[in-house]
């Protein structure tokens, strides 16, 4: 098997006085759809922040496409082609939808490439084309999520990480978001998905990691997960 695109190795990390991640390892191969599941507050978002450089790792190492990228800051990770679509969208609230999308392609200087990606994003998320000139702060929750996802796609990175893209949305909208996920998967992108809703993630995933209290509790593929109800049930503490 070829070397993984992203490899997280024995990482400890956290905030003052506390490790949120403990001895955590994970691999993501090119073209794979990997999901990280687990109840809230168990370090899923912290893991993504460590990978994208928003948070310093305490110890352990992170490799991205063969290079040691441990300790690199977020802009440098972005320049390497790592895209992080953060939880809570973190849009540029006083910029238009279009400007938000263009910020996604901040590091891409080739205008033709940017235009092609914009067309792609508009094709996948047609609502964004209609809302082009609207300020991000005036959008509904679902539209904001789509801007956040579209902004991530505009970077055209080699690995895209989504942090709970269905969080706080109405069921109909969640379905739409997952349709987008499916299409991205089919287009062959490498994706890491953080999700609290395990069943939903399981249907998509080539590989699943279950996080419990900052360490890996279980890993396997989606079908294995669906076949093991006791793992599912431990989720609810039963």
């Amino acid at each position: 098997m070829s070397d993984p695109l992203l490899s997280v190795c024995q990482v400890f990390a956290g905030y003052t006085g506390r490790d949120v991640l403990r001895d955590l390892s994970l691999d993501v191969h090119k073209g794979a759809f990997v999901s990280v599941i687990g109840p809230n507050g168990h370090g899923k978002s912290t893991l993504l922040k460590c990978i994208s450089g928003l948070l310093r790792t305490g110890s352990g190492s992170i490799r991205f496409s063969g290079d040691d990228v441990t300790g690199l800051a977020a802009p440098a990770m972005a320049a390497l082609g790592l895209v992080h679509v953060p939880q809570g969208d973190m849009l540029f609230a006083d910029m238009t939808v279009q400007e938000n999308l263009m910020m996604g392609a901040y590091l891409t200087s080739d205008r033709a490439v940017v235009r092609r990606r914009l067309d792609e994003v508009h094709a996948i998320l047609p609502r964004l084309a209609d809302r082009r000139q609207q300020l991000a702060r005036t959008l509904s929750g679902g539209e904001r999520r789509m801007v956040a996802i579209g902004r991530g796609l505009m970077a055209g990175g080699r690995l895209t990480m989504f942090d709970e893209p269905s969080l706080g949305l109405a069921p109909v909208i969640i379905d739409q978001i997952y349709d987008v996920m499916t299409r991205l998967r089919e287009s062959g992108r490498t994706i890491v998905l953080v999700e609290e809703n395990a069943m939903r993630a399981a249907r998509q995933s080539d590989r699943m990691y279950l996080l419990d209290n900052g360490s890996m509790a279980w890993q396997g593929n989606g079908e294995e997960f669906l076949a093991r109800p006791e793992v599912i049930r431990s989720y609810l503490g039963g």
């Binding site: 977020a74 802009p75 320049a79 910029m95 901040y106």
Partner: protein, 292 residues
């Protein structure tokens, strides 16, 4: 009629002048959450830089403007390198940078005093003559200030909305972490913002001194007014600051006409006090919800 033209003309001149100073402050506050009290001193430096280049070195006016811009930008950059870079991640940044730039501002003012002396000097970069509008003679320098002010506002707006740097500045101001995820090197943006703000202050120094005179303490009054403009607009709101500057310039000119020249600033101060009591985040500001 003549009175109205007079008041509007002088109000617009004042407004354009305040706008140039206030936009610099608003940019810095918007991007970094930093009140730059040294802004007035930078403005003074700009005025004197033009004076020095034109009067002492005998270079042409354009060189004077360039010198003011360069001096302002360099001082802004220096403030970033010396103070901001080290303090950004330390606790209580907002309070501490306020105190630090207050100190630096006073120190810079003292430097000007040592270099050029306490006596007021005339700004050589000033235009003479007047133009009649509806039988009212309006000095050419006022018109020049208005035109320059409007051009600078347009240029700033263009920079912020039409350039990659401008987009990065706005993005950083609105969400720092998200900007970093897009690949924006935030600290470099901060340095640029301080340099741009300093350059604007430098130009504003020429404007202010061409209306009055050069003196080491000349930055205090326009900076105070720029702060008033920013507070009324809501700190960090660049476009709000442009509008508020023009509006407050007109208010001040009206107050000066109706109440007497000495009540101009007092009127503005009372206005800012009332604004803050009525709307704690300024006219265009928004309250933010905080989670504990």
């Amino acid at each position: 009629m003549e009175v109205i033209v007079q008041v509007i003309a002088s109000g617009l001149t004042l407004g354009a002048m305040y706008a140039v100073a206030a936009v610099g402050l608003a940019l810095v506050y918007g991007a970094l959450g930093m009140l730059n009290i040294a802004h007035g001193a930078i403005l003074t430096f700009g005025g004197y830089a033009a004076f020095y280049v034109i009067t002492s070195l005998g270079l042409p006016m354009v060189a004077g403007v360039a010198a003011a811009v360069a001096a302002g930008a360099l001082l802004g950059l220096a403030i970033y390198v010396v103070l901001v870079h080290g303090m950004l991640s330390a606790p209580a940044f907002e309070t501490n940078i306020f105190i630090a730039t207050f100190g630096i501002g006073m120190a810079l003012e003292n430097v000007v005093l040592k270099l050029f002396g306490a006596y007021p000097a005339a700004q050589p970069l000033a235009l003479d003559g007047a133009v009649a509008v509806f039988d009212v003679f309006i000095p050419v320098r006022n018109i020049a200030i208005l035109v320059a002010g409007v051009l600078l506002m347009v240029a700033t707006a263009w920079l912020l909305t039409r350039t990659q740097t401008g987009n990065a500045i706005r993005a950083t101001a609105q969400n720092r972490a998200a900007a970093e995820l897009m690949g924006v090197r935030v600290r470099w943006i901060y340095a640029q913002v301080l340099a741009i703000s300093g350059a604007l202050a430098g130009v504003s120094g020429i404007m202010v001194s061409s209306l009055t005179n050069l003196s080491p303490t000349m930055g205090g009054d326009p900076m105070l007014k720029a702060f008033i403009v920013c507070v009324v607009a809501g700190l960090g709101n660049v476009y709000g600051a442009m509008i508020a500057a023009i509006a407050l310039g007109l208010v001040e000119a009206t107050a000066q006409y109706l109440l007497g020249v000495r009540f101009g600033l007092a009127t503005l101060l009372v206005l800012v006090i009332l604004t803050l009591i009525w709307r704690p985040h300024g006219l265009f500001g928004r309250t933010q919800v905080q989670r504990l």
